[in-house]
């Protein structure tokens, strides 16, 4: 494209953004002639350039806009109609510019209406100006026409009072309680005025040139580091002095080049006033946007990345947080809401806060939503503080908006913001006070190109951990106050009275399968890392020093490894990977499943990837560990042994208005005094209390079940849980199956028919079978769909429970086949999954599934099956 045109486009784009912003400001403060002059100058420049390059359409538009602004400059009343018209013109100009950039020439089109409107407004303003000294009962036709077009009834000609009223300094917005706001407005204005009046001499430089310069400086920094490394080893005084100088100059050069990449954050804000203005009109709210610290500088690259999240958050504030004027008045707040945007430097990073004085987050609604979405259980939520609960808004797909508006509320929002901020190594946090407002605080690094990092050693390799994530370094020693301890195999560190989860870097970096021998002596260096509110420690073998490193992006072939955010070359020429604490945190969350993914490779054939199950681990006498899926447990109780009632060989407990048999698990001895821990298991109307020696832990993990020998009673098999062999309790053994009279009364009179269970995990199959059997059903449990089709060919099936996690396509195909074979007979097909997505639901419905259940939701499962049974009886 023509170089001249290219230049014109960049410049005009910038100018128009400024006009956008200034106009909104001007509308609020029509007395500020400085702003007006600036706008006029900018529009005039654009017009001039258009004429010069030969863009008639743009020239005509800008000319018309200029004539209206010119009238304002001469003292005409500023009204929102005129401002809207000018803003509309600017939008049109932008459209044309966009097309111009694409095709290299002005698009065809007709702007006569808009231009006519603008001229009419200018005429009107001119008329008003003429008559201002006398009575202003002037010709209002153009405005009337404009109003009519915008669907508003033209009021009677503006009276004297009206004109006077309007030209007064923003009385509608009122000065009540806004003194502070005006002050900050004035302050930013002052800060901006020098740059506006001429400003320092600037030079437009191609971004590529700067990028290249940056790369070269990065190389220089590396070379300097290399030289320093060499000098450290050699005692050569002659080398020292010049090297010192080189080092200094390099640092200065680096600073200088970094500065050229810096841009004031105000650039990312420039669109916001306009957006807020349009939104307030659209939503019928009155919103004021205050900005502070627009001159705070940020790396260009980062600026680009946070631009959209910022816009999104301001939209959110306007749409959800700020109430309608009437509601605000009721709450005793001023009619207009305020969104306050502030940015400032803070220790090598930039903090941006977006605060509103709206209604605040609805914690209860977030709580409900979190439960509904399965992000947490009620019990888990109870333990969380309000601040922790508010952080759920950053979860993907989480939106508390009742209505989806055009503006926001589609559930893509805060999660995207968080992802964006995460990706540049920043953090987001939210603080909210009901009724008073919400503040979102974003912390981002100044630049991505050169960071200071801590060099650590894990095994034989060095790694870099970005300093921004490092809170402190702790040396852990056995017997010391800071020592590493283990809870069932999971290392933790006692740090100032708190427990910190520890991740072993050598362990993480070890090749799959080879579990690094964990340091049994409880010694090592711990890099305490903070991601958002989560703190965890990274255990490393040793720590070197902090070094300025030049971040180079990971090769595209390795970018999928979230553990690393990039790589760099150290002073000695070694390539070193930069650890991404976010990735580590994410990996740790999923570490359990990852580990089991790796293990099976060694013992390939018979084991399979286990599903994650939450297990209750308890001791059952003689140090024997047993476990039971938590989903099968109703409650955990501690009962005074005196409350037990003995009748014959049985021990009973009066529990919740019922007599419940107490059964000791394995070698557990029932206590005759003191507190007896009990695991209450109920199944429909049947409840038993399992007496255990002690409750040990609740573990979420995936397990490989080794089947028990035939002779062993009371256990299904055993599994490694947190590195310890643990027996899995066979619930069927403890449920009084052999005493039908005991519980038959509460059970449905007839079994609801044969059930086909297809579940590839041995573990789950074995857990589900007793549950189903205990409720009196005939069950065929199979591992895969090919075996299942054989089984299904035989006897008729009433219900089918199909696993959807392993191979959903096969499950869908099988379900379709079942439906066909059933030929309209009653058949209930239920999908079992650990992760129900809307997509899965949809596909399942298409394949003929009646419903999808969470794999461990036993209650739902039984009630669904009972529903099937009832259906059947009704049908019969």
């Amino acid at each position: 494209m023509d170089e001249l045109l290219q230049e014109f486009l960049t410049e005009t784009g910038e100018n128009l953004d400024t006009v956008d912003r200034e106009l909104v400001r001007f509308e609020q403060d029509p007395n500020d002639r400085d702003i007006l002059r600036n706008i006029f100058r900018l529009v005039h420049t654009v017009k001039g350039t258009c004429g010069f390059i030969g863009l008639p359409r743009l020239e005509a538009l800008t000319h018309a806009a200029e004539s209206v602004i010119g009238q304002f400059r001469d003292g005409a009343t500023v009204n929102s109609i005129a401002v809207t018209a000018i803003l509309e013109t600017i939008d049109r100009i932008k459209d044309i510019l966009a097309e111009l950039a694409e095709k290299g020439q002005e698009p065809e089109g007709n702007d006569e209406t808009l231009i006519g409107e603008l001229f009419a407004l200018a005429e009107y303003a001119k008329g008003e100006l003429k008559q201002q000294p006398s009575a202003p009962d002037s010709v209002l036709d153009p405005v009337a026409a404009y109003l009519a077009r915008h669907g508003q009834v033209a009021a009677s000609p503006a009276s004297v009072e009206d004109v006077v009223f309007r030209s007064a300094p923003g009385p509608q917005r009122g000065r009540d309680g806004r003194i502070e706001g005006n002050e900050t407005g004035a302050a930013t204005e002052e800060a901006q005025s020098p740059s506006r009046s001429g400003g320092p001499a600037t030079l437009r430089v191609n971004v590529d040139t700067i990028e290249h310069l940056m790369t070269m400086v990065s190389e220089l920094v590396l070379t300097r580091n290399q030289l320093l490394e060499v000098a450290r080893r050699q005692e050569d005084a002659g080398l020292k002095a010049p090297l010192q100088r080189l080092s200094l100059i390099t640092a200065e050069l680096q600073d200088g080049v970094m500065k050229t990449r810096m841009q004031p954050i105000g650039n990312a804000w420039s669109k916001l006033p306009r957006i807020v203005r349009d939104l307030s009109a659209e939503l019928g709210k009155r919103i004021e946007l205050l900005t502070d610290g627009a001159e705070t500088e940020l790396d260009r690259q980062i600026l680009d990345l946070i631009k959209d999240p910022l816009i999104h958050m301001v939209r959110n504030c306007a749409d959800h947080a700020i109430e309608l004027p009437a509601d605000r008045r009721e709450a005793g707040k001023p009619d207009h809401g305020t969104i306050r945007l502030a940015a400032y430097h803070e220790g090598g990073s930039v903090t941006i806060s977006i605060a509103d004085d709206g209604r605040g987050l609805d914690i209860d609604r977030i709580r409900r939503k979190a439960v509904a979405k399965g992000l947490a259980t009620e019990a888990e939520l109870e333990k969380l503080s309000d601040a922790q609960i508010s952080r759920f808004i950053f979860h993907p797909g989480f939106s508390t908006a009742d209505n989806v508006t055009a503006v926001s509320g589609r559930g893509v929002g805060m999660d995207v913001v968080k992802a964006n901020v995460d990706s540049i190594g920043g953090t987001v946090d939210v603080a909210s006070r009901p009724g008073l407002g919400t503040t979102i605080i974003i912390k981002i690094p100044l630049t991505l190109a050169i960071i200071s990092a801590l060099i650590v050693v894990a095994g034989e390799d060095r790694y870099a951990i970005p300093q921004i994530a490092v809170r402190e370094l702790v040396r852990a020693k056995a017997g010391d106050e800071n020592r590493i301890e283990e809870i069932n195999g999971a290392p933790v560190l006692r740090l100032r009275g708190r427990l910190l989860p520890i991740v072993s870097l050598p362990g993480l970096m070890a090749c799959p399968g080879g579990e690094q021998a964990r340091r049994a002596d409880g010694e090592g260096f711990i890099v305490v890392t903070q991601i958002g509110e989560r703190q965890f420690g990274i255990l490393v073998d040793s720590v070197f020093h902090t070094e300025e490193i030049v971040v180079k992006p990971m090769s595209s072939k390795l970018r999928h490894i979230h553990l690393f955010s990039g790589n760099t070359i150290l002073g000695d020429g070694t390539v070193v990977l930069i650890v991404d604490p976010n990735g580590v945190a994410r990996l740790v969350g999923a570490a359990a499943s990852e580990n089991t993914e790796n293990e099976p490779r060694e013992t390939a054939a018979e084991v399979h990837r286990g599903e994650r199950t939450t297990m209750l681990v308890f001791r059952a006498g003689a140090g024997n560990l047993q476990a039971l899926p938590l989903s099968l447990v109703t409650r955990l109780e501690e009962i005074e042994a005196g409350e037990f009632q003995r009748s014959g060989s049985r021990t009973l407990l009066h529990y919740r208005d019922r007599l419940v048999p107490v059964t000791p698990v394995a070698d557990t001895r029932l206590r005759s005094e003191g507190i007896q821990p009990l695991v209450i298991v109920s199944n429909g109307d049947l409840t038993v209390a399992l007496a255990v020696e002690a409750i040990v832990d609740i573990v979420e993990d995936s397990f490989e079940l080794e089947m028990a020998a035939a002779g062993e009673r009371g256990i299904i098999g055993s599994a490694m849980i947190r590195g310890r062999a643990t027996d899995i309790l066979d619930l069927a053994h403890y449920l009084p199956l052999n005493e039908p009279g005991w519980f038959a009364a509460g059970r449905s009179a007839e079994p609801s028919g044969r059930i086909l269970l297809v579940e590839p995990s041995d573990f789950l199959r074995d857990m589900l079978t007793p549950v189903l059997k205990a409720s009196g059903r005939i069950i065929a449990a199979l591992a895969d769909f090919s075996a299942a089709s054989l089984a299904a060919a035989g006897e008729p099936i009433m219900s089918a429970l199909l696993d959807l996690d392993r191979d959903s396509d096969a499950a869908f195909a099988f379900a379709t086949a079942l439906r066909e074979r059933a030929k309209g007979e009653r058949l209930r097909i239920l999908g079992l999954t650990t992760c129900a997505t809307p997509d899965l639901h949809m596909r399942a419905a298409q394949a003929g599934f009646d419903d999808i259940l969470a794999k461990f939701d036993r209650r739902a499962l039984l009630s669904e099956l009972n529903a099937a049974g009832t259906d059947l009886r009704h049908a019969a």
């Binding site: 790369t215 190389e219 590396l222 070379t223 390799d461 993480l508 970096m509 070890a510 090749c511 799959p512 180079k552 090769s555 595209s556 072939k557 390795l558 490894i561 553990l563 690393f564 790589n567 760099t568 070359i569 020429g573 070694t574 390539v575 070193v576 990977l577």
Partner: protein
């Protein structure tokens, strides 16, 4: 940086005229040819940074004159077992071919590098139909030499690790 700064000397389009230029390499006994236009460097590396959790084919990261290069093992790519050559101090000695692909620098680790040869187009033949599928996906054709055969590799396919599914 320097490797990208100095472009290969001669006009590089393979198939220019009637002759084709190749850098010859060996993996095991097999002679392979890389179009010379794509080869930036040939170098020996003995310090490599292993990347945990990386795909099997990726040996690690190398520092080639200040540039970070992703090293891909050609042996592994061709479905051959990997043998490590060690130098005198017990460090791995890697013979690497520097290649640029999609603006990123890669190093292909090979067993040995031979000379650059110029071959006549008339000796070029398509791949035999019964060639191993992995090889077929990575090669473009074969040259008949006097005493052996030279398999011409398709570097884009070799570097496209997603093609592994063909294996």
């Amino acid at each position: 940086m320097s490797s990208s700064a100095s472009p290969p000397p001669v006009p590089t389009a393979p198939g220019f005229g009637d002759s084709l230029d190749y850098v010859t390499i060996r993996v095991g006994e097999q002679l392979l040819g890389l179009p010379i236009g794509r080869v930036q460097d040939v170098f020996i590396a003995n310090r490599i940074t292993i990347v945990p959790r990386a795909p099997d084919e990726i040996v690690g990261l190398l520092n080639l004159r200040g540039r970070i290069v992703t090293a891909i093992c050609l042996r592994k790519r061709l479905g051959r077992p990997v043998t490590l050559k060690l130098d005198g101090q017990g460090r791995p000695e890697l013979t690497a071919i520097g290649i640029d692909h999609d603006g990123e620098a890669y190093a292909l680790i090979v067993d040995a590098v031979g000379e650059v040869i110029r071959l006549d187009r008339s000796t070029f033949e398509p791949l035999p139909v019964h060639l191993d599928r992995v090889w077929a996906a990575l090669a473009t054709g074969i040259h008949r030499l006097a005493d052996e055969l030279l398999v011409v590799l398709d570097l884009d396919a070799v570097l496209d690790l997603d093609l592994r599914s063909a294996a």
